[in-house]
């Protein structure tokens, strides 16, 4: 019999509750101490006498919380899709080279524009932000289109994986060349972009971001049957009536879009996409992706919120780069999961 906390009827409400608590903590905690009662008043729209507090909450903490939630969910789902498609526990959203494509796009805007037109995009304010987002999406979707084309042309799943990784290396090397010939300020901006952040958006844009990440994440539920069969291997999947090429295309499209969006708005966020699927498989003992995707959504959001919370713990002067925190949390998770599996299998 499965332990009580692993039953689906208990697990999902439990983890949703945990997620809510984390979201609340993200609003309540930070370098400025705001009383809980005030936090509740401001968030529920009653307003507060203290304008600074109101500003901190509505302009900083609330968008950050929403962005972390959406980004975590998207990356968790994308990672799960990739790990199942490639049947590889080390796969993550970045294996297809999509985030490298983003980096390349952003690299061109931040590094080349400075050289060619003699100005820095970072000084352009909102237009600069939009240019970066557009460049990132452009780079990511260009790589995605290439991967989809290759996946359609050639048969093997493994070949797609290898080509994705190779595209990643190629874009990194181009970015390296760009960096070498760029102005110091531009390189600095590029490095900052590469560290990732949940706090680049206004509250309106955060809501938009939440919609375009959460909706496709939930749409991935419709891929769960394909994913269940893909996990059995291409031959069994095809014998059970699955159109392999189409399924693979849809899975790559879904994971690729999620990764592209998150990378465009937050920069390349590492580790969440790789660690969360392991957590999702750990909490419920099932191979059914209908449940695994739900788990990945909730746990992805929760992990991102936890990382965001740790990145700006009370008492710290400034925020830590989010990627330092995600790796700090993600690496032990992956190690412990592998450790636990080792014990079970032998």
């Amino acid at each position: 019999m499965t332990p009580i906390f692993q039953r689906k009827s208990v697990l999902i409400p439990l983890s949703l509750g945990f997620l809510l608590i984390l979201a609340a903590l993200n609003l309540a905690l930070g370098s400025v101490n705001i009383p809980i009662a005030e936090v509740v008043d401001i968030v529920t729209g009653k307003g507060s006498s203290n304008v600074i507090w109101e500003n901190i909450l509505l302009r900083t903490r609330l968008p950050q919380t929403i962005v972390a939630l959406g980004a975590g969910m998207a990356l968790g789902v994308a990672g799960l899709l990739m790990q199942t498609l490639f049947r590889n526990p080390l796969a993550g959203p970045s294996v297809l080279g999509i985030s490298s494509g983003s980096s390349l796009g952003v690299g061109f805007v931040l590094l080349v524009a400075g050289q060619v037109w003699g100005f820095s995009f970072s000084r352009l304010g909102i237009w600069g932000d939009l240019a970066i987002i557009t460049a990132s999406l452009g780079g990511a979707f260009a790589v995605l289109a290439l991967i989809l084309f290759i996946s359609h042309k050639i048969g093997g799943t493994l070949s797609v994986l290898i080509i994705g990784v190779m595209i990643g290396y190629l874009s990194n090397s181009v970015v390296g060349v760009l960096k070498f010939y760029s102005m110091e300020e531009d390189v600095h901006n590029y490095v900052i972009w590469g560290l990732g952040s949940f706090s680049r958006m206004s509250v309106d844009r955060a809501y938009l971001f939440a919609i375009i990440t959460i909706v496709p994440s939930l749409l991935a539920l419709f891929l769960s049957k394909s994913l269940n069969l893909m996990a059995l291997g291409d031959r069994y999947a095809s014998n059970l009536g699955l159109k392999i090429k189409r399924a693979r295309l849809l899975i790559i499209l879904c994971a690729g879009t999620l990764t592209a969006i998150v990378t465009a708005f937050c920069g390349p966020i590492i580790f969440i996409g790789m660690a969360v699927p392991h957590l999702a498989k750990l909490v419920s003992r099932t191979s059914n992706h209908l449940y695994l995707i739900c788990n990945a959504c909730i746990l992805g959001a929760a992990t991102a919120l936890l990382c965001n919370l740790l990145a700006r713990l009370p008492g710290m002067e400034s925020e830590l780069p989010i990627n330092s925190v995600t790796a700090f949390i993600g690496a032990p998770v992956v190690i412990s999961v592998i450790w636990k599996k080792r014990k079970e299998n032998f």
């Binding site: 269940n228 069969l229 014998n239 009536g241």
Partner: protein
Amino acid sequence: MNKNLLHIRNLSIGYGSKIVAGDLSAIIPSGELICLLGSNGTGKSTLMRSICGFQPVLGGLIVIDNREVHQLNEKELSKQIAVVLTDRVVVPNASVQELVGYGRSPYTGMLGRLNGMDKIIVARAMEQCGIAHKKDSLLTSLSDGERQKAFIAKALAQDTPLIILDEPTAFLDLPARVEIMQLLRDIANTSGKSILMSTHDLDLALQLSDRLWLLQNGGPLITGSPEDLLLKNAFQKMFQHKGIVFDNKTGLFKVMHAQHSQVAVKGHGFEYVLLRRALSRKGVRLVKANPEDCNRLEVNKDAQKPFSLYVDDQCIQSEDSVEVFVNRVLAAKSLLEVQSESRVLSE
């Protein structure tokens, strides 16, 4: 009953332009267990994969239920043929019940959820394969035999008229092999499904299958009931090899040993057969003792020590262990007559 489910006509199989085997023709009648036999490299797996629609054929036809296999789409084919592959797939966290449930995929909706009927079919399939008691166990925790049963249950749940298994007994120990073969025999008998499996277990195939397909290097395919093929001496041709002889009466292979000497023996019975086998392995052939042979072996099954060694009509040693006795005989060089013909093969 007994209509033909699948026809193969003048089939050529292979990869690209390389033909592995050609001119293959065969039938699969409903409700029969068919074993595909053939040495490694003759194209057994290629033939299986071609029938399953996993790879294109180079010529000829495979027709199932009056339709050409390679013109059916995945969905249609998934309701005709269920497969059990040799590949060892590792599905993280999958339980037996989940795996068998995936067998229902051709019939489930977009989210792949099982309805009441599906659940009954899944339970019945696990029951029939004797794996129901392990339904909540993870696949990774099963023994090889149990795993194979789980995958067979998956194929059963797929509810197809034909099940194809690629060497289902390959990694199993002898009792598990027999069990799996009996299970398949039982499925063919009770469900009316046809089963085609490739195997190297000739003795089990001869005893349990309704029909054999013998694939020779490059083709053609020789088919028929085990008994008819024995009548036609099909196996001798198939497994022509130095030192191996196929015994039509027992349906077993005999290994022939090179004999370099012989010894006279008096006696008969089970003990005699055992002694002959043990000495044959060492290259010594037994010949019937003439009354004048004063150096001889005697086998007396009623004595407490059945094996006796006589030199000059004197019993110099009696033993109850074949091994000890054989060593003693080999040590008595004077006893063994070295043969003039250098190498004679004998059982």
